[in-house]
C-alpha cells in the first residue's frame, strides 16, 4: 500500500509538472496592406534572413548538447529571383548567388568554380526552366547556369558591355541593361547576338534594373530620370510610369521592379523604403513596406521578384481568411530582416464593410 501510494504520488507530481502551462508565444500580428477593414490585397508573410527561417529547427536535445547553432545569414541581398522550390538571392556581400532550398530547408551558395567564377554580380533572372542568368559587372558578361546549377554559357563580353547591372529573359530574347553605356541591349538567347540597342540618344541616365512582364513588355528603371520606362518586346517605347516627387506615385530612388501575371508593376524605392504597385495603365494602386524595422518594413530595399511557383509553400503563413495567389519577394540591403516575403491574394472571410469584393 505504501509503495503504491509512493508511486502514485510520484506520478501525480510528474503530471503536475507536465501540466504547468508553457507561456504561450504571442501570436504574430497580421500585417495586411491595406489594413482592415479595407479589402486586403497583400499580406506580409515572413522574413528570411538565414537557414533557420526555412523551418528546420534545431532539436532541444541537440541544442542542449552542442549549444545554439550559429548559422550563416544572408549578407547584403540585392536582387532576387525564384523557381519551383527555390529562392535565389544575389548577395553583394558574398558576391555570390545564395540558394534558399524551400524543400530541403537549406541555404547554400551556387557553385561558381572555374570558368563560372562570378566577379561582381549585380543582377539575376531565373527563367521558367530554372536557368539562372547573372549579370556580372567585372566579367562584363551575363553568366548562365542550367537547372542542375552547372555553368551553361556566357553572353556578351568587354567588347559589348561596359557595366551590365541587370538581366531579364523572355521567350528567345535576353534583355541586359548597361549602366555606364546607358543602353538596353536586346540579344538573341540562342545565338547571343545583339539584335538591337535602346537608348543611343541618351534617353536613359544610369538605368539600374530591367524586368519583363508575362506579355513580353520590358520595364527599365531609369534611376536618375526617376521613372520606369516601358517598352514593347521589340524595344518600342510605350511610356513612363511614376514621376520624381515625394508623393504617392512618385519616386526618389527607384530600384528593382517586377511584373505580375496581370501586368501590374511593382517598384521598390530605396529612399521611401516602400514598394508601389501600378496597374497596367500606370495608375497607382497601393504602396506597402515603409521605413522601419518592424514586420513588413523595408530597409534600403533593392530587388523585387514575383513568384508564381511557391504559393502553396507560403500559404501556412497566411491568415486563414486570406487566399494567396502569388508571392512577392523584396530584398533589404541592411537591417535584420534581409528578405521580406509578401503574398498577393484576396479576402475569403466574412464580407467587409464598404467596398464589395471587387478586384480591378
Amino acid at each position: 500500500m505504501k509503495k503504491r501510494a509512493f508511486i502514485l504520488s510520484i506520478l501525480i507530481i510528474c503530471m503536475g509538472c507536465a501540466l504547468i502551462p508553457e507561456k504561450p508565444a504571442a501570436p504574430p500580428k497580421t500585417i495586411f496592406y491595406p489594413a482592415l477593414p479595407q479589402q486586403p490585397r497583400l499580406q506580409f508573410l515572413q522574413s528570411i534572413s538565414g537557414e533557420s527561417d526555412l523551418g528546420k529547427k534545431q532539436s532541444a536535445f541537440h541544442e542542449f548538447i552542442f549549444g545554439k547553432r550559429r548559422e550563416q545569414l544572408l549578407g547584403k541581398p540585392y536582387d532576387v529571383a525564384a523557381s519551383k522550390g527555390k529562392i535565389y538571392v544575389m548577395d553583394r556581400m558574398y558576391k555570390k548567388i545564395v540558394i534558399l532550398d524551400l524543400v530541403g530547408k537549406k541555404m547554400s551558395f551556387l557553385n561558381d568554380d572555374g570558368i563560372a567564377r562570378l566577379g561582381d554580380p549585380a543582377g539575376i533572372w531565373v527563367s521558367e526552366e530554372d536557368i539562372k542568368y547573372v549579370a556580372d559587372m567585372q566579367r562584363k558578361q551575363v553568366v548562365a547556369f542550367d537547372k542542375s546549377d552547372h555553368f551553361l554559357r556566357t553572353y556578351g563580353g568587354p567588347e559589348i558591355f561596359e557595366k551590365p547591372v541587370d538581366v531579364a529573359v523572355h521567350g528567345k530574347r535576353i534583355y541586359v541593361i548597361d549602366m555606364d553605356k546607358e543602353l538596353l541591349f536586346i540579344m538573341n538567347k540562342d545565338t547571343g547576338r545583339v539584335i538591337k540597342t535602346i537608348g543611343e540618344k541618351g534617353e536613359f541616365f544610369k538605368p539600374s534594373d530591367v524586368t519583363v512582364g508575362p506579355s513580353g513588355n520590358v520595364f527599365v528603371t531609369d534611376a536618375f530620370h526617376f521613372v520606369i520606362k516601358k517598352f514593347s518586346p521589340d524595344g518600342k517605347f510605350l511610356g513612363t510610369i511614376g514621376f520624381h516627387d515625394n508623393q504617392v506615385g512618385g519616386f526618389a530612388r527607384p530600384k528593382g521592379a517586377a511584373v505580375d501575371k496581370n501586368g501590374r508593376l511593382y517598384v521598390a524605392d530605396a529612399a521611401f523604403e516602400n514598394v508601389q504597385i501600378f496597374d497596367d495603365q500606370g495608375r497607382i494602386l497601393l504602396f506597402f513596406g515603409g521605413p522601419g524595422s518592424g514586420p513588413g518594413n523595408l530597409y534600403l530595399p533593392a530587388g523585387i521578384a514575383v513568384d508564381n511557383n511557391n504559393t502553396a509553400y507560403f500559404q501556412k503563413f497566411a491568415d486563414p481568411d486570406f487566399k494567396l495567389e502569388y508571392i512577392i519577394y523584396v530584398t533589404n540591403m541592411f537591417g535584420k530582416n534581409m528578405l521580406n516575403v509578401y503574398g498577393f491574394g484576396h479576402w475569403i472571410g466574412t464580407s467587409l464593410p464598404g467596398e464589395k469584393n471587387d478586384r480591378p
Partner: protein, 213 residues
C-alpha cells in the same frame, strides 16, 4: 624679401581660389549638372526629391489614405531622438547608402569613376564589428571611458576650421558617428582635394581627432 612677394601673392591667390571652390556643391563630386538628364540648375534633385505635383490621385486600392507624402528613409526634418536600430546603418547614413550601394555609385569620387579601388560594401564600409570604416554606432563619453584609445567626444574639440565646438557638436548625430561625420556632401566645409573630408587627412589628422594614438 621683395622678390618673394609676388610669389607669396600668387600662392595666396591660389589658396583663396581653392577655398572659394570649397564653399559650394557646385563643382564638387555630387554636382551632377554635367549630365544631360538634369534640368538646368536643379543640382539638388538627385538627393532632395521635390514635391512638385499639386494633387496626386489616391491609390486605387486604398482610397481612404489621408497622408499622400512619403518620408525618405524614415527621417523627418525635425528629427526627434528616435531609438536607433543598433548595429545597422541608420538615419542620415542611409541617404548615402541608397546610391553608394556598390552598384549605382561603385567607386565614384573625384576624377575616378567606375573603378573598384574603394568599395562601399563588406570590406570597406560597414557596421561594427567591421574594423575598416564603421558607421552608425554610438560614440559617447561612456564608450570613450571604456576605450582608452578614444577621446571623449563631449569635451574634445573637433578642430574643424573655424570651430571651437566639440566632436559631439560638430561631427556626431544623436551621438552616432555617421558617414557625414567625416564627409561633407554639400562641400561647404570640406577640404579641397580630399574625398569631401571635413578635415585634412594628412598625417591622419582626421583619424586622430577621435582616436588617441
Amino acid at each position: 624679401m621683395k622678390k618673394l612677394r609676388p610669389a607669396a601673392a600668387a600662392m595666396l591667390l591660389f589658396l583663396f581660389s581653392q577655398i572659394a571652390w570649397a564653399g559650394t556643391i557646385i563643382g564638387s563630386p555630387h554636382d551632377f549638372r554635367k549630365y544631360p538628364w538634369i534640368r538646368s540648375g536643379e543640382i539638388c534633385f538627385p538627393c532632395h526629391v521635390p514635391q512638385k505635383t499639386a494633387t496626386v490621385p489616391a491609390p486605387l486600392w486604398n482610397r481612404e489614405l489621408t497622408t499622400q507624402t512619403f518620408i525618405m528613409y524614415g527621417i523627418t526634418h525635425v528629427q526627434p531622438p528616435r531609438t536607433p536600430v543598433m548595429s545597422q546603418p541608420d538615419g542620415i547614413s542611409k541617404k548615402c547608402l541608397s546610391c553608394h550601394d556598390g552598384i549605382i555609385a561603385t567607386d565614384t569620387y573625384g576624377p575616378n569613376t567606375g573603378g573598384t579601388a574603394y568599395r562601399f560594401d563588406k570590406d570597406y564600409m560597414g557596421t561594427i564589428p567591421n574594423n575598416n570604416h564603421p558607421i552608425s554606432f554610438i560614440y559617447d563619453t561612456a564608450l570613450a571611458a571604456k576605450d582608452a584609445d578614444l577621446y571623449d567626444p563631449a569635451t574634445k574639440p573637433s578642430g574643424m576650421t573655424g570651430s571651437t565646438a566639440t566632436i559631439k557638436t560638430d561631427m556626431l548625430f544623436s551621438n552616432r558617428m555617421e558617414c557625414v561625420s567625416c564627409h561633407d556632401v554639400h562641400n561647404t566645409k570640406a577640404v579641397p582635394g580630399t574625398k569631401l573630408l571635413v578635415k585634412y587627412s594628412a598625417g591622419s589628422a582626421l583619424c586622430l581627432t577621435c582616436h588617441n594614438k
